[in-house]
């Protein structure tokens, strides 16, 4: 058996407090939620999170007190709830430090990291207050070598004389993503849109992939053009079926509108959020118990994707 294959608990134990982390997925899709819940149960603290458009993955980590800083463009579950309630509260009460970029800005920063470059140039974000207002204190930037020394830098292009924006690279300690299939040696196969998963992962010092299925490498190597991350970059593999719930995993299962709505209803108040955490995170020992808690086989059956469409055809999404 490959040494890379470990349990969820073992994988979470790799993450030290204060780690710089990127999580895969986009708003209501393919977040490594089982890993997120396990990090909360393990009381991780002072995490520095990066992402273009996370959703409830960041929100529940922030609410649970695991997060010190975020650098992001957006945090919400889109049409299910247009703002993450815990992010909102944490910023309004100054409980976390935050830095705003745009989606493209964040993706470019990950791309620079993945390419081994200190920055990449772009034409975006000009005219926006993302370039006049800074969230992180200047002292934090100067003292903490893990944070870019400047939020951004504007320069004259040496070739065209026009104004160009440089955005600093992101290289996280750990990128955790949830994929549909991983080979035993670590080759990653993502079905559907890959969001910013590939750039986030390739720029990370270590990659942990949670997945629906661990398969023989040979199976994935029959169509290598459909694989995204080469095996030698992946450090740890964890099999967690339904590991993205309540979010969707293309071709495997849809998002769970009931559970997502329940989270947002509860997360609006401190008491409600604590109740949700007590019931669905602290109140269960592991992901298996979590799946029982959210409705077990009966609920899962309703979310299994139509093989042709990749989602549930007539899923009730407005409750």
């Amino acid at each position: 058996m490959s040494e890379k294959i470990i349990s969820l608990q073992e994988a979470v134990e790799k993450i030290p407090d204060s780690a710089h982390i990127a999580l895969g997925g986009f708003t209501t899709q393919r977040h490594p939620m089982a890993f997120v819940y396990e990090m909360i149960r393990n009381k991780k603290r002072d995490l520095h999170l990066y992402g273009p458009s996370p959703g409830g993955d960041f929100d529940i980590l922030i609410g649970a007190g695991c997060v010190k800083r975020v650098e992001l463009a957006y945090e919400a579950d889109e049409a299910f709830n247009t703002i993450g309630s815990r992010l909102r509260k944490a910023i309004e009460k100054n409980e976390i430090e935050w830095e705003d970029y745009s989606n493209f800005g964040m993706v470019l920063r990950f791309t620079a990291g993945a390419m081994g470059l200190p920055f990449l140039p772009t034409r975006t974000m000009f005219g926006s207050d993302m370039l006049t207002k800074e969230g992180f204190n200047r002292c934090v930037r100067q003292k903490n070598h893990r944070i870019a020394s400047e939020k951004f830098h504007v320069m004259e292009c040496p070739f065209t004389d026009e104004k160009i924006l440089l955005l600093p690279a992101i290289n996280v300690d750990y990128c955790i993503l949830h994929a549909q299939k991983v080979g035993k040696d670590g080759t990653v196969r993502i079905y559907g849109q890959n969001y910013a998963d590939i750039q986030q992962a390739l720029g990370a010092k270590k990659i942990i992939v949670t997945c629906e299925e661990i398969v023989e490498e040979d199976e994935l190597r029959e169509s290598p053009e459909q694989n995204q991350i080469p095996f030698f970059r992946v450090n740890y593999i964890v099999r967690v079926p339904y590991g993205a719930h309540p979010y969707s995993c293309f071709r495997y299962y849809d998002y769970d509108p009931e559970q997502i709505s329940l989270y947002h209803k509860k997360a609006r108040s401190d008491e409600g959020f604590k109740e949700y955490l007590d019931e669905f995170v602290h109140g269960v020992k592991n992901h298996q118990e979590y799946l029982e808690k959210i409705g077990g086989e009966k609920k899962i059956k309703k979310l299994i994707a139509d093989p042709e469409l990749g989602y549930v055809k007539n899923l009730k999404r407005r409750l």
């Binding site: 899709q29 273009p52 772009t122 034409r123 975006t124 005219g127 926006s128 969001y195």
Partner: protein, 258 residues
């Protein structure tokens, strides 16, 4: 064929129809969830059959059978031309200058069409924190033009927004060029009360139309900045065909039209 107008529509349907009419055939349109998606799909099913719809999470030219709740939704994968990630869409489609029109929204919109979707009050100690730019700041910078969708309330239409998430004309006709943006800018604001546009030379806003049943006076009362209303006409009503397509083809599950 003569257009058959209807009186039987909701405000959301009227706004979706107005949004659709801002789009031309063969354009590449960048949309988010909700009303812009209704508008783009309606346009595709009426006057703009060759419209290309782009979703920022990674797909081009999806053929939607069910409306997505997210731009990253599995539903946008259906029969798309290509599916990849944010990088491909933002870098090689949007920044490279291929997006004709993008849709935007936010909590505050000022006279030059600048949008705040980040925070109300002081940025470091906000009274209300909003969701942030997402891709909207990028679309505002790099689409060839933008259409803004907004609820028309006085507090949402201030003289100046508290924070520019998505730049419009910034501070006037030279605002974008000075900032480093070589193209783009807002062309219309479709609100719950009417449609605002911008003067070509001055980029000052004016009321182009008021929705049926809305009085110009109400619009003035619900707009903090000065609005020229001298050119306003009534917004063209939806046709029976448009409403039928919205209800039966675009959103039969009534996800967004309610």
């Amino acid at each position: 064929m003569e257009k058959k107008y209807t009186k039987d529509y909701t405000l959301t349907e009227l706004m979706a129809v107005a949004a659709a009419r801002e789009i031309h055939d063969k354009e590449i349109v960048f949309v988010g969830t909700g009303l812009p998606m209704l508008g783009a799909m309606l346009a595709q099913n009426t006057h703009a059959p060759n419209l290309v719809i782009i979703f920022q999470a990674g797909t081009t030219d999806s053929r939607l059978a069910n409306l997505p709740m997210s731009v990253g939704d599995a539903r946008v994968m259906r029969q798309a031309s290509t599916a990849a990630g944010l990088f491909e869409i933002f870098a090689t489609v949007l920044q490279a200058g291929h997006v004709d029109v993008g849709f935007l929204s936010g909590a505050q919109i000022d006279k030059f069409g600048n949008i705040n979707a980040t925070s109300i009050g002081d940025y470091h100690n906000p009274t209300v924190r909003l969701t942030g730019s997402g891709g909207s700041g990028d679309i505002a910078c790099l689409a060839k033009r933008t259409v803004i969708i907004a609820r028309h309330e006085k507090r949402r239409f201030p003289e100046k927004v508290d924070y520019i998430t998505s730049p419009g004309w910034i501070d006037g006709p030279e605002g974008r060029e000075k900032a480093g943006l070589h193209w783009g800018g807002p062309s219309a604001i479709v609100t719950t009360m009417g449609i605002l546009r911008f003067e070509d030379k001055t980029k000052e806003p004016y009321l182009a139309s008021y929705h049926p049943g809305v009085k110009i006076q109400w619009i003035k009362e619900n707009t903090e900045f000065k609005l020229d209303t001298s050119k306003a006409v009534e917004t063209e009503k939806p046709t029976e065909e448009e409403i039928q397509i919205l209800q039966n083809i675009v959103d039969p599950e009534r996800i967004f039209i309610g």
